[in-house]
Symmetry: D2
Subunit: 346 residues, 4 copies
């Protein structure tokens, strides 16, 4: 049994960590840290935990949390997160950070897209980008894992086989992403008012969304050359789920058969990536509630262009589930522990 603490336990990602870890036979949730709900039980904050957990949300110094915990999940806003993670790491505690603060190899990229000065740039070298399908071996020995963004995971997994095999024109990549509202978190603003979201759709962060740079970083590594691409997120009136529709010009003539083999080969033995056969494109109902990413595609022979559709649950494979997957790898647990349940279709 290891002791895990959660910083930012009462946001949606924190809640989902608690829900999923509840089924983990080797993890004890030690502390639930929350500034907003100090002294409240987690079942008061989320009554879906009634009868399951009445543990209290507390405040505690990071150093003290670190000393008592084998691992700390940090689910705080970027900028704030880096400071806290620094204090946790000083006590040598393993950390999985869900913010963007440690996802970059390059400080200047971070500062260009986040428009702030990084509080501890020296720690970027220590951190490992927590996408198991690409960096499993490094994660295994990591002490600080930067859990990828939700859009990022969906986009990279959808493109990795093609990019690493140089089968697409890397200047032609366009990712049109659609997300449910839980990705915006639990903090309130006019933009998440039911009456403003319901029966509405909108694009946002066009040409400027931070996840663009994160996707570009990882695909550039895979490709061996600098990749720039368009990424457009949209807000859709539903709770959970991301669907990315990805367009790229094929660099040669490739059949659907050939490409499906490539994907299945690339993700061979990956427990959380599912490649659909010809004629099926994934919908978000296929993955909600699970830690899976589903991928399907159409080869448009008329235009020699591929259209890839990838989907995942933004709170699970796009956040808390992937964080647990990373923890499982870091501690030598079976990678699917607490993550093997099928999603809910309804």
């Amino acid at each position: 049994m290891i002791n895990a603490s959660i910083l930012g336990a009462t946001g949606y990602a924190g809640m989902e960590l608690i829900r999923l870890l509840h089924a983990h036979p080797k993890v004890n949730i030690l502390h639930r840290i929350s500034q907003t709900y100090i002294g409240k039980s987690i079942s008061e904050v989320y009554p879906s935990f009634s009868g399951v957990s009445n543990d209290l949300c507390i405040d505690m110094e990071p150093a003290e949390i670190a000393r008592q915990s084998d691992i700390v999940f940090v689910s705080l806003p970027h900028g704030v997160s880096a400071d806290t993670v620094k204090k946790l790491r000083l006590e040598n505690c393993k950390v999985i950070d869900l913010s963007g603060d440690f996802r970059y190899n390059s400080v200047s990229k971070y500062e260009e897209w986040y428009k702030i000065t990084h509080p501890c740039p020296e720690m970027l070298q220590e951190s490992v980008y927590g996408l198991p399908e690409l960096h499993r071996s490094k994660i295994k020995s990591a002490n600080l894992v930067a859990n990828p963004g939700c859009y990022t995971t969906c986009s990279i997994l959808g493109l990795a086989p093609l990019v690493s095999n140089k089968m697409i024109d890397s200047d032609s990549i366009i990712i049109d992403a659609k997300s449910g509202v839980s990705g915006a978190g639990r903090s309130i603003s006019l933009g998440i008012h039911f009456c403003e979201v319901n029966e509405n759709m909108k694009a946002y962060g066009v040409a400027t969304h931070r996840h663009t740079s994160e996707i570009e970083q990882e695909l550039s590594i895979l490709s061996g050359k600098e990749i720039s691409l368009s990424f457009t997120p949209h807000l859709i009136p539903l709770q959970r789920g991301i669907l990315c529709t990805i367009y790229a010009n094929l660099s040669g003539i490739h059949s659907h058969r050939e490409i499906i083999d490539l994907y299945r080969d690339f993700y061979h033995e990956e427990p959380f990536v599912h490649i659909h056969g010809e004629g099926v494109l994934p919908e978000i109902k296929f993955v909600n509630g699970s830690n899976k990413c589903h991928i399907g595609f159409v080869v448009d022979k008329r235009l020699n262009r591929i259209i890839i559709v990838s989907v995942l649950d933004n709170l699970i494979k796009g956040a808390s589930g992937q964080a647990i997957q990373n923890m499982n790898i870091m501690f030598g647990f079976d990678e699917t522990t607490a993550l093997a349940q099928p999603g809910w279709y309804l």
Copy 2:
């Protein structure tokens, strides 16, 4: 042409007033008063007005607004509203107030249910309860109309024929009401977060909701004796619309035919009340976008109980449409002006 100004123009009720008055041939919207959006055009606040109105939201002293306007619609929070209305009335301007401040005959009832001291109790005598189906003649000559609450209108119209004819046991009335989220207005709180409302339902204000007292007041007048009843509102994941399911024990044996005749007689020539025939119960899709209240019912012979279903669009017949209906009556316009369009089914 008359000049109408709107105080609280950028809330949902204010927006709906602007939208509906746009089609009114005898009304010029003079001022759009908003504390939140001073200097912004109404089409910046609600881009659905793009190309329709670029008029600016301004701030202005009530006395000045009153001097320039033939009528002022006041859509402010209760308590705040009373103060403003007082200033408007000092200039002899006609006022339609959408808050609860002037709906009561009895100051003590108001103070008991609203838990505040009424700022100008002397004005309650001047105000007329703006439910045209019950008080049309008084509205005609009123200078201050208290526009009824949304739940209230739906409940009273559903019960009035039975109560005024003493056909039900007045101790047995139970109103189970369900409302869309727009009734909560545009101000933000965790309770209207999309992710908290969507795929959820809840009861609130049980046994304490203020509209209870307003319904009781009007039904008591109709009945000639004091009526107390249960009223339970629920929040439902949709934007517009209220549905009231009303239960009452019949005081004698009455057929469906007899009661339908009673209702059709009671609402004879009412342009905005529609009584459905046997076998049809209204749904909120029947009325959204219109100023109508639809009513249907089932006589449960087994229990000698009637179950009435009444529906309306909370922003129209439940707020802004009814306010315009009152204005039409006050100024001698055809009562259906700007309100005659059918609702939208989708």
Copy 3:
């Protein structure tokens, strides 16, 4: 390990049985019987099972299924179900039937409310009403369990402590129930068209819904005298969840404290019933994804009336979860096996 087969495996209740049983360490799902999808894998019908189960849906004679299975879940339309259950029972296989066919003690009640002749009335004596909180000991030794209806479970659990203690006027019970759309199943009709349900609400089956009689039967047993009541279901635009708002006149003066003690006592040690304290009323988000029923209430002293709110997930505690709970009891497994996970709040 026991072998369980599911008849009607591709409806929503069948799907949910498969999803939940997947986590059951002592159950092997042997056959998935479906008329509609013969030869298709369950993951083609519900791609959320991709990578989890590729077992095929088949057709098979009931007798043969019975011979191979330790238990069969039957999720077929009423009338159809009874015939099939009869064949299964001839082979002495244990059966849990999710239809209304075996829920009645009285054939005439069934025939009065279902408007059909019961195909095998003699089997009603053998069947046990599968509400563990009321009939656990009988379920333990039952061979045929009639799984209760979704509305029914929610209503009975909300009222049982008061009725069995005769604390309410049994003539005054009114149940106003609201349900998500999954309760209507997966078969198509205009009534479940997204555009007809979304942004809509409606009452249906008023004074005639079959679950009325089922609730009356169970409450009459508890009370020791015949109870008749009003039950009104409503369709609400969401997927999962039932919320019942229940009204009854208290037969004496009782404080909130007194009644909460009564409920906690009545449901003492029940793993799936949660009673909320004063000031909290359950919402359906509190239970979706779980096998729980949450109950809260308000005592309206002004009217000496109690308003009870009970909620559950119609596909779990209202159908498949309760069926598994019954199976656990019948086979001596821990009653919470495969049902202990907390719900999902989002």
Copy 4:
């Protein structure tokens, strides 16, 4: 006053025609033709018309309809529509057809994308493509107008200024479109079941959707050379509205200012096209309930790519509203008659 009849009056587009024409001072709706609801009043089929219209749905021979009507709106499935339109035109009645049957200049394009033989290819020459912003003068004198598709209108209006000024690389156009469910019509199938659509998103018709060819036809005419492009529709859980996110590589360096001027110039005096200024991208709430198309864009200087967002209400500017706009042009009415109301934001 002219007499208008509607063939296919009880589908969603037919309903919307009736709703909008109700406010048209120069149009009398003569016949409502429906195979499904013969003998039912339109207010039985859509109770939102209660008290507004009790006219009956009838069946009638096309020739007879044509003889009695000044104009007939045909809202029937493609293939079926062409046959009927032929009969109507034989009687010299003006026709606006909402299907795809008469939208093509080339029979072979139609047959390639629709996979059927055109029943009356000779009539394609007579028909005019009913997009007023591009073909107003031809529409004025047309007898047969082919009303454009919903996706098509949104896509073409979003791209026309750039394509006709050759400011984008015509090989690089990608249209990622998202639509509400009403676009699928009122006929039932598993795909429009509330529980399958709600909390879901999916792409469909990828690389094969018929509207692709319609968009290509019109843009090729504007450009003067053959254009091929990617068009991907998605189904989104809401009722009304289409949002197109359009990507294209700029063929030179162009500022946002320059392009906005181009759009405003191109759509100068167009009553139903609104171009948003820098920093605002349209959302579907901006247009629902109106006949408007809103357009905004971002110039991504980093990639020299433009991202255009265009939105419209699929039932109004994407279908019935545009049909009425075409009728207004054909009969010399003010083009905005019955179409001038602002949309509803909620």
